[in-house]
Every structure is written in structure tokens, then in C-alpha cells.
């Protein structure tokens, strides 16, 4: 048995105006991965490849140790997948949808479904077409969660939700943390949601994975260092610096492999280090993207 819930190796997919390039991704079982990228970065395409809805031009996709898309029926039996574009049947109510999904998944948990119904404040009898966008997303999430899947794949689960609904959904995702056998991959362009509950974080931009690491390493390794230089002469950055901004004798440097030695090295050069600030995931993501894009232009 493989310990990886998801494994993509050298996956490529070509479209007319977009290419997914050499995607390598591993998600160990029991972990939560946040998949972050701008709109159109390739998040949904990657997720479609993982779900076997699309065939890669080259490379290998394996989910729960099974090859995709060949084993899609077996895999989808154990995976709860929900995406932004999915719609339920407007002329039917949630109760009808629950009966339909329940008939397909033998592990359906009625008690859990009832709890979710209460916590999400959803009405069983009301037709789906009368649901607000938030209610619609929550209804779909209920249908996915109560199947008790081993792997949850959620494409933009909180996009378009109002703050109240977003909190409800985030709280529900947090409750999943309690179960160590469950793996979650969720994509978002909202870094605040991702930052809180993810163990692993993967950044994707323009069809390529630009960084993947565990969250604590991300937050530890990336720092913004505030410097005071001895002269207005342009600063020669030290260590693995990915961004330098200087105005007169004040400089701000973003470093992606921070350790104390960097500070010492600056001090040796007679540079005053005012602070080494933590960065939010959003700042790290943006710095990362800008750095890569600048590199592509060169």
C-alpha cells in the first residue's frame, strides 16, 4: 500500500492557450494540502487530472495508489469531489439529492448529514433553485462530507461565500482535522483560508508548480529583512534573496531561506538589521509569483 493519497509525476497537458508543465505533486495520507494559485493558474486543470476527468498528455497520475483515469470508478468511490462549477438539480430539493447520493455510497453517514444540515442551516424541502449561492455550495459540501470519503478534493470550496458561510465551511473543514485517516486537497485563491488549516502548501502559477512545502517551513524560511545601509550605494544581497527594494539608505529584502547567519553576514558588512519580519502566506505567495514571472521574462 502506498502512503500517498495523491501522486503526480511529470504530468503535462497541452491546451491551445495554456500548458500545464511538468507537474510533480505528492500528498501523503492524513494530511491537508492547500493548493494556491491565481485564477487561470492551472488549479482546476490539475484537479481534473487528479479526478480522472481529463487525460494527461504525458506523465502519471495516481490516486490512493490507483492509476488515473483507468481506475476512476474505483477511485471516485473513495473520494469526495466538489468543485465550483458543479450544480445540483434546481427542480429538486436537498432531500432528494441526499437520497440519490446515499444510494451510491454505502458509507453514507445519516447522523453526520443531519448535524451538517443543522450547522449549515439548510432546508431539506426547499428546491435547490431557491438556494443562494452560499447555500448551494454548502449543500454540495454536505453531499460530499457525509459520504465519509478517504480523500476530499475541493476545488475552491470557499469562493463566492459570504463571511458567515465561509466561517461555517472553514469550521467544518477544521473538524475533519480530527480524523487522521482523512486526506484533503483544497484549492483556493484565498490564502487566509489555506494558511489556517493546511499542513502542506503548494503554489501554482502559469501552469507550473512554483513551490511546495509544509506550512511551518514556508513561514519560517520566508522573512522580510529591514536594513539600514552605510551608504546609498546599491545593496549586494546575501543568502537566497528573491526581492530587493532600496530607497536611499533604507532597504527591504525578501529572503526565502532565512537563518540567523544571514543577519550576522549583513552585520559584518556594517549594515544595520532593523528587523526580520514574518510574512503572511499571501505575501509569500505574491513574492514567489513575482519572482518567477520576472525570471521568465529574462
Amino acid at each position: 500500500m502506498s502512503d500517498l493519497a495523491i501522486q503526480l509525476t511529470g504530468v503535462n497537458k497541452h491546451f491551445n492557450y495554456f500548458d500545464l508543465k511538468d507537474i510533480n505533486l505528492e500528498l501523503p495520507k492524513g494530511q491537508i494540502m492547500g493548493f494556491v494559485g491565481a485564477n487561470g493558474a492551472g488549479k482546476s486543470t490539475t484537479i481534473r487530472l487528479i479526478m480522472g476527468l481529463m487525460q494527461a498528455d504525458s506523465g502519471q497520475v495516481s490516486v490512493m495508489g490507483m492509476n488515473m483515469p483507468e481506475m476512476q470508478t474505483q477511485v471516485k468511490q473513495r473520494v469526495g469531489f466538489s468543485s465550483e462549477e458543479m450544480k445540483l438539480y434546481g427542480s429538486k430539493n436537498l432531500g432528494w439529492h441526499i437520497e440519490f447520493i446515499k444510494s451510491i455510497y454505502p458509507h453514507w453517514d445519516d447522523k453526520y448529514a443531519k448535524e451538517l444540515l443543522g450547522r449549515f442551516d439548510l432546508n431539506l424541502e426547499q428546491n435547490i433553485k431557491q438556494f443562494s449561492k452560499g447555500q448551494h455550495i454548502k449543500a454540495q459540501l454536505l453531499l460530499v462530507l457525509a459520504r465519509k470519503p478517504d480523500l476530499l478534493v475541493l476545488d475552491e470550496p470557499t469562493t463566492g461565500l459570504d463571511p458567515v458561510a465561509r466561517q461555517e465551511v472553514n469550521q467544518e473543514l477544521a473538524l475533519i482535522l480530527n480524523d487522521e485517516s482523512r486526506t484533503v486537497l483544497f484549492s483556493s485563491h484565498n490564502t487566509a483560508d489555506v494558511e489556517k488549516i493546511s499542513d502542506q502548501i503548494t503554489f501554482i502559477d502559469r501552469g507550473a508548480i512554483i513551490n511546495t512545502d509544509n506550512k511551518e517551513s514556508f513561514l519560517d524560511n520566508w522573512k522580510r529583512i529591514q536594513l539600514e545601509l552605510p551608504s546609498t550605494h546599491p545593496l549586494t544581497p546575501l543568502g537566497s534573496t528573491i526581492n530587493v527594494e532600496q530607497d536611499g539608505r533604507i532597504a527591504s529584502v525578501i529572503c526565502n531561506q532565512f537563518d540567523e547567519a544571514v543577519i550576522e553576514a549583513y552585520k559584518q558588512q556594517n549594515i544595520k538589521v532593523h528587523a526580520a519580519d514574518n510574512m503572511t502566506l499571501e505575501e509569500i505567495f505574491l513574492a514567489n509569483v513575482n519572482y518567477r514571472r520576472a525570471g521568465e521574462k529574462v
Binding site: L53, P69, Q74, F81, S83, M86, K87, L88, F100, I104
Partner: protein, 223 residues
């Protein structure tokens, strides 16, 4: 092939369309009764209504269950369930055809029974059966076009063409002496020609359906 899944999909479509199937059946039965009423005007109104109901139901169920479901992204929801393209296409060809056939069978059976017991000449029977089967062939074809093209405009244009063709078919059948000459006779004449046409129609339904399953199944992924 995942048979329980196919059954669940067909059951789902049945639940979605059953109230329409009931409504179409009631309308069809009403049309049949108009036809046997002792009035020529009522007969013609009934006949037009009957054909309209059969063709309308066919177009509604095929387009809605295949093309609209895709357009409104309910197919995206279905794709995430444990099934592959083959399971899906079987549920949409055999399944939807079976669902449509429920009202088709009710209406055609009523029609045959009504012609038999009423004052209408029994000679109409072969024509009625041949034409009803043509609508079933058209339904299979429309489903096939919807599934293979996935396009709303193409499917709607095909529906219009198929409707026009039905009128051509009607006139062509009436001009076949074996059928046309016996229309107003007291006896239903099932000549070898009639049987041949019925056989061709059945073969067409089967081959269109199997062909669609065969072509679409070669596709491994939904997208």
C-alpha cells in the same frame, strides 16, 4: 461497467422526468379520445395533438436530460460520482430511451386499442404503428446527436430537421400502395412491406443506440 451506478443514474432521470411522462401520457390519451370522437374536425385535431405530444415529449426528454444537464453543469456534479463515460452513456441512451418509452407505450397502446374498438377503420393500424416507431427512431437519433455533439444548437437544429422529416415520412408511407390503399379499409393489412419497415425501424433504434455507446465508450475521460 458499473451496473448499480447505471441503475442509480436511470432512476435519478426517471425521478426527474416522471411527472412530465405522466402529463404527456394523459395528453396523449386525451388526443386519442378526440380522434375517436364522431367528428372529422375532432379527428384531425386529435391526430395533430397526438403527433405533437409524442414528438414534443421526445424532444423535451432527450434535450433536457443530455444537453441541458451538461449546459447547466449538473453533469459536472455527476462526473464526480463513481462512474466512467461508458456508464454515463449507457444511462443516457438505453435509460432515457426507456424512460421516454413509458409514455410512448402508454400512448401507442391506447391508440391501437382505440382504433380497434372504435368506429375508426382498422386499416389505420399499420400506418399508426409505423409512424409511432419512426418517432422512437428519431428519439434514439436525437439522444445520440446530443450525446456525441454535446452541443445545444446542433441538437436543436437536428430536432427541427427530424420533425420535418417526420412529415416527409408520413407522406411517403401513405404513397406506399400496401399502406396507402388500405388506410380506410376495415381490416388492418400487415403486408410483408409493413413488416419490413417495422424491422428496419427496430434495427435502426438498436444500431443507433449501440453505435452511440460504442463510439462514446472509446473516450476514457469526460473532458
Amino acid at each position: 461497467m458499473n451496473i448499480p451506478m447505471i441503475k442509480a443514474l436511470v432512476k435519478k432521470d426517471w425521478m426527474l422526468y416522471r411527472r412530465y411522462i405522466v402529463a404527456y401520457s394523459v395528453l396523449g390519451i386525451a388526443a386519442t379520445f378526440l380522434m375517436i370522437a364522431p367528428s372529422v374536425v375532432a379527428y384531425y385535431i386529435g391526430q395533430v395533438l397526438l403527433v405533437t405530444v409524442l414528438i414534443g415529449a421526445s424532444a423535451h426528454i432527450s434535450i433536457s436530460s443530455v444537453v441541458t444537464e451538461k449546459k447547466e453543469d449538473q453533469l459536472s456534479f455527476i462526473m464526480g460520482l463513481p462512474l466512467n463515460v461508458t456508464d454515463y452513456v449507457i444511462s443516457k441512451t438505453l435509460g432515457v430511451l426507456a424512460i421516454y418509452s413509458v409514455c410512448w407505450v402508454v400512448i401507442v397502446a391506447t391508440l391501437v386499442f382505440a382504433i380497434d374498438i372504435s368506429g375508426l377503420s382498422d386499416g389505420l393500424l399499420p400506418m399508426a404503428i409505423v409512424c409511432s416507431l419512426e418517432i422512437l427512431v428519431a428519439t434514439a437519433l436525437l439522444l445520440s446527436i446530443g450525446i456525441l455533439s454535446g452541443s445545444e444548437p446542433i441538437t436543436i437544429v437536428s430536432m427541427v430537421v427530424l420533425n420535418l422529416f417526420f412529415n416527409v415520412f408520413l407522406f411517403s408511407m401513405a404513397r406506399i400502395p400496401d399502406i396507402g390503399n388500405n388506410l380506410w379499409g376495415d381490416v388492418a393489412v400487415f403486408s410483408p412491406t409493413v413488416f419490413k419497415i417495422i424491422a428496419v425501424e427496430i434495427v435502426l433504434i438498436v444500431s443507433i443506440t449501440l453505435g452511440t455507446i460504442g463510439i462514446k465508450s472509446r473516450q476514457q475521460c469526460f473532458m
